[in-house]
């Protein structure tokens, strides 16, 4: 049996609550919902509990489906998409001196093909996202893959925001973002 269910598994897919925490802490994407100013729940749990964890009602959390099914991935992509849009939208709204996530590069200008200095800043920004999401720097191969996609998207769209949207959506969609192993 390829995947282990229950304790002792080598690889565990994150629960909706763990992913909520990760998005909140790493990327400042809030997932809570409030009633009268009081935090009462978690939208990942509320909206996507079954496909993410095989959890049919929030009060019954011990029974989770840890096998990855198409339903699971449909939701991970959905979550990644909304998180990426939130990040980009927020960056667009915050004035440059107080950017919270894009602190390493000029978000609207820098891209790998602009010049060496811009490419270095862009790369630092990518490494910052890797550290936030995966607690490790990107490898050369990964940087090369992202650079290629970013450059292609930017060349076609003419906007760094579109290229960052693709990048962030992709990073949050990867198997590494949703699974933990030792």
């Amino acid at each position: 049996m390829p995947d282990k269910v229950g304790g002792g598994e080598r690889i565990s897919r994150l629960t909706p609550e763990q992913m909520s925490k990760s998005l909140s802490v790493s990327l400042d994407v809030g997932v809570g919902y409030f009633l009268d100013g009081v935090l009462v729940g978690d939208y990942l749990l509320y909206d996507y509990a079954i496909p993410l964890g095989g959890l049919d009602l929030p009060s019954y959390v011990r029974k989770r489906d840890r096998l990855t099914k198409p339903q699971t991935l449909l939701i991970t992509r959905q979550v990644a998409w909304i998180a990426a849009v939130n990040i980009i939208t927020k960056e667009n709204e915050i004035p440059p001196p107080v950017k919270t996530l894009f602190t390493k590069c000029n978000y609207l200008v820098d891209h790998p093909a602009l010049d060496d200095a811009a490419a270095a800043r862009w790369r630092d920004q990518l490494q910052d996202f890797y550290l936030r999401l995966f607690s490790r720097p990107a490898t050369e191969a990964e940087v090369a893959l992202v650079t290629k996609t970013f450059t292609t998207t930017y060349a076609r769209e003419g906007k760094t925001s579109s290229a960052w949207l693709v990048t962030l959506f992709s990073l949050i969609s990867t198997m590494e973002a949703w699974n933990a192993w030792r």
Binding site: V29, D47, W81, K90, E142
Partner: protein, 452 residues
């Protein structure tokens, strides 16, 4: 300050939020239709829809009105015993065996048009929301861990062994033993469901951007996978195979089939009741129609949340909400009667679909100090459509509103041998929509006269 994850919920809202980041490459309505589910060659599909009125509906306003000897019973609130014109029950002109309370008068056209049966007086031992929901959906009662058994729709879907086995919009449903084999394709709202099966390119991304992202995800995953030890690679096998399936689902472009059009929004008066983002009866039933037409799955569960659990101001909250439900149900029935089944075009959706309208329990016949009602120890249901015996009324409540026993044709004193339980209702449905073996895992008792 953390951003609100749920903020950009609708496609319209996201379009506004993302502004110039991306543009919509295709209009949803232009996408080609392609079904996932195929009926066996020559066989008409047996569709089964559950409409859950989540919170506990009032049977007195619905299928079990205060008529006959109940009118003189002090067990019922004065408002029911001496009703104003607004609260009068009605016997359906086209089907004199069916009487409805003032909440379902608006559904008269639906009941007249389709085979309809009422079930009342189903004994509900545990009128607490989650226990009772589990029990009414699955026909099996458990108090120790209330999700142990699957809903009837989950069972039917699991037996079919196709993807998706079961579509759930709205309230959670018990999955039990189908949890690992056949989880439903589920989302809290139709909007999120549409986004989910559409994927980024079906929602807001241009197709070029989605293709860029897909290639990047695949490349990064391959890079990660390659460096993992062999046993870890095995652990992630299901992730990789699911990735390929997701590409296939996106490629089918099904999201366009369940997107509300202006015509449907107008017909169901969705904007009048709060717009697309509100999961009231109009939005949910309009979406149910689109899901059926899309042929995504023959088994669909829709949850309608809202004003059912009326612990205060019952008549001010529950009654108008039930009337809205009845009106929307009338439109829905008209529409499925006029719509060919996509898997069997010689039949309409009304002819291929069995509909169960139910709720976890019904409500007290008297009002509390806040003018509200509490949970009551019985349940009611409506069966409509394919196979249902038209005009049947199974089960009774007594003049004290408690569930009576049932001898197959009339109410009798309640006892362990005469009681109607959710087990019996669900097993009867399972036997008629599914098969006897499946039904017998729930109960061997059948409610005679509910199906033809």
């Amino acid at each position: 300050m953390a951003m609100n994850f749920r903020g950009p919920r609708s496609r319209r809202e996201l379009l506004g939020l993302a502004g110039g980041l991306a543009t919509v490459g295709l209009a949803l309505g232009e996408w080609p239709w392609r079904s996932v589910t195929r009926a066996a060659a020559g066989a008409a599909p047996k569709r089964f829809v559950t409409i859950n009125l989540v919170g506990g509906w009032c049977s007195i306003l619905g299928t079990d009105p205060v008529i006959g000897s109940k009118v003189s019973s002090n067990s019922y609130n004065e408002a029911y015993r001496a009703p104003t014109n607004d609260l009068l029950p009605k016997t359906l002109t086209a089907k004199p065996s069916l009487s409805v309370g003032p909440g379902l008068v608006t559904a008269e056209s639906a009941f007249a048009a389709m085979p309809t049966a009422f079930v009342n007086g189903v004994y509900m031992q545990v009128p607490g929301h989650e226990f009772a929901l589990q029990y009414m959906a699955s026909g099996r009662l458990t108090l120790s861990s209330s999700r142990d058994f699957p809903s009837i729709a989950a069972l039917l879907g699991a037996e079919q062994k196709t993807f998706p086995s079961h579509v759930v919009i709205g309230a959670g449903v018990p999955l039990g033993e189908t949890l690992y084999s056949s989880p439903p394709l589920q989302a809290a709202t139709v909007d999120t469901f549409q986004q989910m099966i559409g994927g980024p390119s079906g929602y807001l991304f241009e197709e070029d951007l989605a293709a860029d992202a897909d290639a990047l995800i695949e490349g990064l995953d391959a890079e990660t996978y390659m460096k993992l030890p062999k046993e870890h690679q095995l652990d992630l096998k299901s992730w990789r195979s699911a990735s390929a399936n997701v590409r296939s689902i996106y490629a089918q472009k099904l999201a366009g089939q369940i997107g509300l059009t202006p015509e449907i929004s107008n017909r169901y008066e969705i904007d009048r009741y709060g717009g697309q983002g509100v999961e009231g009866p109009e939005r949910q039933l309009a979406s149910l129609l689109l899901l059926l037409k899309s042929n995504l799955s023959p088994y669909i569960t829709i949850g309608i949340n809202g004003s059912w659990d009326s612990h205060y101001n019952h008549l001010q909250n529950h009654l108008p909400y039930m009337r809205r439900f009845g009106t929307a149900l009338g439109r829905f029935v008209e529409d499925i009667m006029a719509t060919k089944d996509p898997a069997s075009p010689e039949l309409t959706l009304a002819e291929t679909t069995t509909i169960l309208i139910t709720s976890e329990f019904v409500r007290t016949a008297t009002f509390n100090s806040l003018g509200g009602t509490e949970h009551w120890s019985s349940a009611s249901a409506i069966l409509m459509g394919r196979g249902v015996k038209d005009g049947a009324v199974i089960g009774r409540t007594g003049d004290d509103h408690y569930a009576l026993g049932w001898n197959g044709s009339s109410g009798v004193p309640f006892s362990e041998t005469t009681q109607i339980l959710p087990d019996h209702l669900i097993a009867t449905i399972a036997a008629n929509v599914g098969n006897a073996a499946m039904a017998n895992t729930i109960s061997e008792v059948r409610l005679d006269g509910l199906f033809t």
